[in-house]
């Protein structure tokens, strides 16, 4: 019915024309993303100029760097011969010459496999904790890993970590037995008191007896020989592992209704968090000996680990407290309605959920702690920065400056950035699961 024979209506489709140049491909992308408004255009130009300026100044210095020399003087001679003395270029040779010290400190070079293995073992122990889908039996690896790492790092007789670890086994069985035979409260008391008694009275003799009968051990390494990134990792990881139980207890104490315990937890956490780490480190260096019985004298690295553990425990406590607070109140009420007592409800219902939420926060605390381990340079430990100044104190490398710092910075960046990504990814995953 309709009149199709209208002359001004086109009968056949026009061939598709290509979109205008300004609307496709890179040009469109550039126009929409970089120059969509005058402000945007200005920002783009400023940013590009900043990038150009930084790259233009840094790149020639970095790329032209000298690798083969064995001292700064030699570096300067090579530079004078190749590019002339008025050009500054990097002398990366210090890294090829001293990289092993920056990574491992003064750890004996034929034993470098030990810290590497310890790190791998630690990561293996971490897997069952971080990925709950893996078999529960793997948790035994996580339980053994800290002791094995300790033994690999310091060496010495194998019986020292074994006889120490036995204390925890004693505690575990005491808890099980006493809970079943007497009461849960007795179980907890037994789990605390029996291991202490074991360590105080039995462990020493046991160790001595074992070490005498079956001398089994590897070469002992002084903790003074630890240095470089290895020291940072050792301090950071042991502090975070040791501070977890302490931090959880503090968080629970801070949430509890018991006035004295709560007050103590609050005071402890706030005092630790209110004072900078560097002051605590000086305390470990200058004052810890005052607080211990006359004559006791700890290894400085151990003192630092203790201090950093207490420090991070306060931060972990706050992270865990966040996790506890984030749980819906129904979980607490549900646990109560099942007739579980406090410890049972915490152990079976509350903490597994709260800790899962807190893992990203714990990883972030660890990143912060790992970066803060550079402060130990001020009390004379050889962290990467300390190694850098020790390298500069030799006649070969006196006067070298940027190269060492840049290397250290890049290493820290790689480590912290990847951990940060991991925690971010975990956070997203948790968020998805939550919804």
């Amino acid at each position: 019915m309709s009149d199709t024979n209208v002359s001004y209506v086109r009968k056949e489709m026009l061939a598709e024309a290509a979109p205008p140049v300004s609307e496709i491909g890179p040009v469109r992308w550039v126009r929409e993303n970089l120059f969509s408004s005058p402000l945007n255009a200005i920002l783009t130009i400023i940013s590009l100029y900043v990038i150009y300026w930084v790259v233009g100044h840094v790149a020639p210095w970095t790329i032209g760097g000298i690798w083969g020399a064995s001292s700064l003087t030699e570096c300067r001679e090579i530079r004078d011969a190749t590019v002339g003395s008025d050009h500054g270029i990097a002398c990366w040779s210090v890294l090829s010459h001293r990289w092993h010290q920056l990574l491992f400190g003064y750890y004996p070079s034929h034993l470098y496999w030990r810290p590497v293995l310890a790190l791998l073992l630690f990561l293996a122990g971490l897997v069952p904790v971080l990925y709950p889908d893996t078999s529960r039996k793997l948790l035994i690896v996580s339980a053994i890993a800290p002791f094995a790492c300790f033994w690999l790092l310091w060496g010495g007789s194998v019986w020292l970590p074994v006889s120490t670890a036995l204390g925890f086994v004693v505690g575990y069985f005491a808890f099980g037995l006493a809970t079943r035979l007497i009461s849960p409260l007795a179980g907890i008391l037994a789990a605390i008191i029996l291991p202490l008694l074991y360590w105080y009275f039995i462990a020493g003799d046991l160790y001595a007896a074992l070490a005498d009968t079956v001398p089994l051990g590897i070469e002992f390494v002084q903790s003074r020989d630890f240095g470089g990134f290895m020291l940072s990792v050792v301090i950071g990881l042991s502090a975070i592992v040791l501070s977890l139980p302490l931090g959880i207890l503090l968080a629970l104490a801070r949430q509890s209704d018991l006035f004295i315990i709560k007050t103590f937890a609050v005071v402890f956490i706030e005092v630790i968090r209110g004072v900078p780490l560097i002051v605590w480190l000086f305390t470990a260096q200058l004052l810890l000996n005052y607080f211990l019985p006359p004559g006791t004298n700890f290894d400085l690295t151990l003192r630092v680990i203790i201090m950093v553990t207490l420090f991070s425990a306060a931060y972990i406590a706050e992270v865990v407290r966040g996790g506890l607070a984030a749980l819906p109140k129904g979980q607490y009420e549900g646990a109560d309605s099942l007739g579980l007592n406090y410890w049972q409800s915490m152990r079976l219902i509350i903490l597994p959920q709260a800790l899962k939420i807190s893992i990203p926060g714990i990883v972030n605390t660890f990143i912060g702690l790992f970066k803060d381990t550079t402060l130990v340079v001020f009390i004379g430990l050889f962290d990467p920065l300390g190694i850098a100044s020790a390298v500069r104190a030799t006649t070969e490398w006196n006067g070298i400056y940027w190269e060492l710092f840049i290397f250290i910075g890049v290493m820290f960046f790689i480590a912290c950035f990847s951990m940060g990504r991991y925690s971010l990814q975990l956070e997203k995953k948790l968020q998805r699961e939550h919804r």
Partner: protein
């Protein structure tokens, strides 16, 4: 007939302490209290016996004796003959100064970077991502050292300002000099000072220019009175607005009240701008912002700024998209949307982490040790302890100072936070 029996008499048995939940918490607390007290007593007893063994005592009299060392940046009068206590106070003021300046700039940098990181402009947002990740993932100590070195290497030496054709020149009409020893900015001096005996040479010859504290008190006092008057004027304007609906224009009156009295005071004191000028090895006069301060300030604010940027970004992302859409439905421009709709709501999410960033910055200012900025850790916790051997007393004071400062900051910010908070229903 039923036999009435008395309810069982509440008798207390010892086992109730352990099994009765009414008493158990008391038992646990008493035990905990005893343990804590024992632990503390053990520490104190150890300390006392150790001090005795070393032949030391515990007293603070060293704070009164002459310090013997010089401090370059002093906000209050100090020289090497003043006491250790005075040196500690100089250090405390320096800590407070850098923490205060750092918090302000860190917030500004953080907000800008956080907003820009969400920009649609790819170059800008990725540059900001590089900045944020770069600073968050490298130790602050390293940044402080590097920034200190960059600041010194990239600025001219004072003697490059010298000569017929100097390699460097002062900026802003010859009033400000950026050197590798610091930045010199002009200051206000008074030729008719109230305290009036201090005479300082300036570049134009000998002009009596005093920097008297009394004069500044007078100026600030005037300013405060002016502000009070302005507030009363505004309150009156609001009252009129509420009563009649018309708000009288207060702008000119306000400006006049603010400017004229202070102007008169400054005129009578003979205020002049004293410019820094080159004399001997260095610039003199003006205000000298040392490189250690600048590097520390810059490093702290850029580092903390990166963290604040992440908080700001998270805060902005937490505001639901509907808010942006509603704002554009109302016809608001994108930047007005940001400043009027998004940021105010995001602030509620941002402020709590912001508080802890301020705390971190304040504590991190103790890394001043790396650039030789004389903060309280360097004076009281550094040279003083080292010279007197009073580490126990010194560290205790130092810890107390930082603790008080932290508690003060978090207290003030928590009050602010609770006032900003939405009243939830």
């Amino acid at each position: 007939m039923s036999v009435l029996t008395d309810p069982p008499k509440p008798s207390f048995r010892l086992s109730q302490l352990l099994y009765d939940t009414r008493y158990r918490s008391i038992t646990i607390q008493v035990i905990a209290f005893i343990l804590i007290a024992c632990g503390l007593w053990w520490l104190v007893a150890n300390t006392i016996s150790n001090l005795n063994d070393l032949g030391k005592d515990f007293n603070y009299s060293f704070l009164g004796s002459a310090a013997g060392y010089d401090i370059n940046q002093q906000l209050i009068e100090y020289d090497s003959q003043k006491s250790h206590g005075r040196a500690a106070l100089v250090g405390i003021l320096n800590t407070l100064l850098v923490a205060f300046l750092g918090c302000i700039t860190a917030t500004i940098i953080g907000v800008i970077a956080g907003v820009l990181r969400l920009s649609k402009n790819w170059v800008v947002s990725s540059l900001m991502a590089v900045y944020v990740e770069g600073f968050r993932n490298v130790p602050l100590l390293l940044w402080i050292i590097l920034i200190f070195a960059v600041v010194t290497e990239s600025t001219p030496r004072p003697n490059e300002f010298r000569g017929e054709d100097p390699a460097a020149s002062m900026i802003l009409a010859d009033s400000m000099a950026i050197t590798n020893r610091g930045t010199y900015i002009p200051r206000i001096g008074f030729t008719n000072s109230m305290s009036g005996n201090e005479v300082v040479a300036s570049q134009e010859g000998l002009v009596p220019v005093a920097s008297g504290g009394i004069d500044w008190l007078l100026v600030i006092g005037t300013l405060i009175i002016s502000i009070i008057v302005v507030r009363t004027l505004n309150a009156r304007a609001s009252r009129i607005q509420e009563a009649t609906g018309d708000r009288p224009n207060t702008l000119w009156a306000n400006l006049a009240v603010l400017i004229i009295p202070v102007g008169i005071v400054l005129f009578f004191l003979g205020a002049t701008i004293v410019k820094p000028y080159l004399k001997g090895f260095n610039f003199t006069e003006g205000v000298h912002l040392r490189n250690s301060l600048i590097a520390l300030w810059l490093a702290l604010s850029v580092y903390t700024g990166a963290f604040i940027a992440e908080n700001v970004r998270a805060g902005i992302l937490a505001v639901s998209k509907g808010q942006t859409e509603a704002a554009s439905a109302l016809g608001l421009q994108p930047n007005r949307t940001m400043s009027l709709v998004i940021l105010p709501q995001a602030m509620r999410v941002i402020i709590p982490p912001l508080i802890s960033q301020y705390l971190n910055l304040t504590k991190n200012s103790s890394l001043a040790i790396a650039v030789g900025y004389m903060d309280v850790r360097a004076t009281l916790g550094g040279i003083t302890i080292n010279q007197t051997g009073r580490e126990l007393e010194g560290m205790l004071l130092l810890g107390l100072f930082y603790l008080t400062l932290s508690l003060l900051i978090s207290g003030v910010m928590n009050v602010y936070n609770s006032r900003m908070k939405l009243t939830e229903r």
